[in-house]
Subunit: 347 residues, 2 copies
């Protein structure tokens, strides 16, 4: 069966791995549900969060991992080294954790210039310094020319958990406000334009950034924060779908409230892409108590990576498990989860 929607196409009965299986959207979910969870099932992996809570040595830690395969490895505003640190820092942060330690595992293509290698490691080092995390262990593999595209990086991260913080989709209630910490689509468009060598790149740069300091400031309002995610692969639309589905509630998004840089909006229109489905690497979505939403918005806006934060919508019981966009012209349309893969190798 071919699943065709506005958000892509993929053959659900394919006997091969498809690019869509790595999109973070519907095909990824199918792969995880059908092939990964049955064999690996346990209470931890079923948490299905950006990080997992683990009991260790009398306490609890957060643990997460991500591989980075971005093409090209250097792009306006960042590189694969920054992504690999910030992405994992953010996966720990949005779960309410304090990122402490990272592993760094490099897979390099024979012939990769040492100068580029040095630049990536410098980025890793500077990003770790900014986020206040330590790279504590690592691994380096080299494979022959053509067996990997330049450089892939995996980071795994360990964080401590504030015992008073327990973000979960189960805490989300109708009326809660949906905060987005800034403009969307910057990362995906910056990488896409660089990859395709398109001239219009102008001033669009990736938003890759560590969000742990912003989250740490939000902890003064931890009781009013229900749940957080960072809208990476699949973009804001896919992340909101995951949240609404797990909360069993609907989310209404006001298009006019969603911050988009004019350059990103223009490039998206020319490329036929919807910024709501484009990956971000320095943004978070927080579902918060509406009575504290202005206060929390102020806290986020005080952070250097949250200056353009906005309340973009609210939670409702009207359409459980669905996300609806109220368009600028006053219409309404369903925002589905990403189905195919608009932009492979974006992170």
């Amino acid at each position: 069966m071919l699943l065709i929607t506005g958000m892509g196409i993929f053959d659900m009965n394919s006997k091969e791995i498809l690019l869509a299986h790595g999109s973070g959207g519907k095909a990824s979910c199918q792969l995880i549900d059908k092939y990964l969870l049955p064999g690996l099932d346990n209470a931890f992996i079923r948490q299905m969060d950006d990080s997992v809570r683990l009991p260790v040595d009398g306490g609890t830690i957060l643990f997460t991992t991500d591989s980075y395969v971005v093409d090209p490895p250097f792009f306006p505003g960042g590189d694969i080294g920054m992504l690999a640190v910030n992405g994992t820092v953010n996966d720990l942060s949005v779960c309410g954790g304090k990122p402490l330690y990272l592993s760094l595992s490099l897979i390099l293509e024979e012939g990769f210039p040492l100068e580029h290698f040095e630049a990536v490691i410098k980025s890793v080092s500077e990003s770790a310094k900014e986020a206040g995390v330590k790279v504590v262990t690592g691994d380096t593999k080299v494979v022959g020319r053509g067996s990997v595209d330049k450089i892939f990086i995996n980071t795994a991260g360990i964080g401590s958990l504030n015992p008073e913080v327990c973000f979960s989709p189960g805490r989300i209630s109708p009326g809660d406000a949906v905060i987005l910490s800034g403009t969307i689509g910057d990362h995906g468009i910056a990488v896409m334009l660089e990859r395709e060598g398109l001239d219009m790149k102008s001033d669009i740069i990736s938003d890759t950034a560590p969000l742990n300091k912003m989250v740490s400031k939000m902890m003064s309002e931890a009781d009013s924060v229900r749940f957080m995610r960072d809208p990476t692969r699949g973009g804001v639309a896919t992340t909101l779908n995951e949240i609404s589905s797990r909360a069993g509630l609907g989310i209404l998004v006001r298009e006019e409230s969603v911050p988009v840089n004019p350059g990103v909006a223009a490039a998206s229109e020319i490329l036929g892409l919807d910024p709501l489905y484009i990956a971000n690497e320095g943004k978070l979505i927080a579902i918060v108590d509406r009575n504290r939403s202005d206060k929390i918005l102020d806290i986020i806006r005080e952070d250097r990576y949250g200056r353009e934060a906005a309340i973009i919508g609210h939670v409702t019981r009207d359409f459980p498990g669905k996300v609806v966009l109220k368009t600028k012209t006053g219409g309404r349309r369903m925002l589905e989860m990403l189905t195919g893969d608009q932009l492979p190798r974006i992170c």
Copy 2:
């Protein structure tokens, strides 16, 4: 400068990443010392062990990571899924830890058969079950055809640490016995023969296995165990060089005591390879108090993966930081660290 030794060749002044940089031998050390440690320096990464000890939430955990890029992903005796679990389990085990949790990050090539994917996940699941560890978090990326060779896997592992265990090279003393837990070269030769499609593969199979149960039995003699490592990339010779260098003592190895399967010995001779430099994936080297070495050897031999364990040599002050092989014919030769890369993509 071209560094040429019996154990390979590599251009120390290359401006590009070479296969040798991933060998686990001299070029890997150069890459780590020159490019990685200066930028990432901290007390943890300087431990340079198979796993790092980290303070968290009032306790201490062990943390490690490895990427697996073996070619081909399926080989006699195992596959990349088994390797990815057992390798990380063993890195935690040889540091005296009890492996608890693994992350699993997959990088897949578009077009990789789902049937093969399923087989790899089944292996991961079964290996995790055998080792008693849980896969608790993961990530899946898909890249276009030609951007990765079939499937690469990263696992990171977390283990608990027995507070009474403190293996370190600093505890090694002259006279200590060197125990090897079984035959060498099986994994490397099995993969090599499969990769090259050579007919002589006969009964040679990879030794990939989890060693945590063996190590857990050895804990009754923890006081007498000085240090352990698993001789993977670079083989027994490279691992012994690391140990002797870190202990500041020499190691004398008796060639006749080193267990080698006849098939592996024959294949190595034909291929011009030295089993002492070939990767193992289910073996450990333990440096132990000579007064307890027979008892520890008995414990290892009782384990299903240690039946052919042997005392292969001893520590000496005679040639600090060097490893010397006493050959079967009574001669002596230096066993240097691996320089080039005899067998890329072996794990």
